[in-house]
Subunit: 201 residues, 2 copies
Amino acid sequence: MPQRSDARRRMVQAARQLIRERGYHATAISDVLERSGAPRGSVYFHFPGGKTQLAAEAAEDHAHEQVGLIDEAAGQVSSARGLIEVYVGLARDGMVGSGYSRGCGIAPLVTEAGPEESVEVAETGRRAFTAMIDRMAFHFVNLGLDRAPARQLADAVIAGVEGALVTARALRSPAPFEAVLAALAAQATALTPKTAARKRN
Amino acid sequence: MPQRSDARRRMVQAARQLIRERGYHATAISDVLERSGAPRGSVYFHFPGGKTQLAAEAAEDHAHEQVGLIDEAAGQVSSARGLIEVYVGLARDGMVGSGYSRGCGIAPLVTEAGPEESVEVAETGRRAFTAMIDRMAFHFVNLGLDRAPARQLADAVIAGVEGALVTARALRSPAPFEAVLAALAAQATALTPKTAARKRN
């Protein structure tokens, strides 16, 4: 039933945008309905787990899109440094383009998950960041890095971008992205063996 | 009146801890009272601006402590690289020591500040991160860096730590701190002129 699944998709998208703008707790189901234009009755039909499930799917959707962006960026470059330049640049442009109004779609589930929060929320954050880091490390290996430095560099890239999404937004300046990019790009060059094959993915 | 100001201080501390654990919106005034043991009547006496004021003071308190930690770390080292090693190490140890249950005391004000949030909350986030970055850059200059690279490196350090506070918590692993530290320490070495005086602060 295309109409139903379209409402479902629109609700996940709306939840994701709202979480990026105002976080997890301040995203009410009523706001999701208003922004997506989905009928109220559709909430528990599509998301029997309620807001927790909706937020988890929104974060998964965000991670899925980021993994796609990482793959796309990897297809355009011939070095780990190049991949970092494209990926950090996309994050910076997204932040500036939103008028510093939108952050990460996953981080709020981590920073707002108190001890009484559902295990599902915490587990979603873990899975989502793991997917992004794994994919980044995979491409770094393809771009000539050894496995351990590839993993470490991927950890640093995802953390660096996450942090810039917070401080750049607070400062309303792209400077944190530029600063993080400079450090990560230099590290990529240092970790790339001189003999690394410049393969395209 | 020492009793009153003690209650005030305990409320700011409790608000800060709760914001670090569960974020801004999920921190209710009633939770702050319960954790601080302060009497209910004291909220609007000490914080006529209510929760917004309490959260802003909690974030300022967090930034103040971080600036103190940066100063202390700077007093122990003789290079920009050393300062980064000590500061990132403190953040990592704090995260691990909390059982991955406590993040930054400022970031939630940034990521949960939707468009209808008070200007005060957003402005507090900007001021708090600016204070930390300024102080880090100040010490980098003292440790031999030129002003522009000192500023850029400080931007990268604060963003890197902020990001690691999110991804390390999600992954329940110190790896993001180690990864960020490796990239930042290498960048510090690269940015330090060979002739830099190794002054102690």
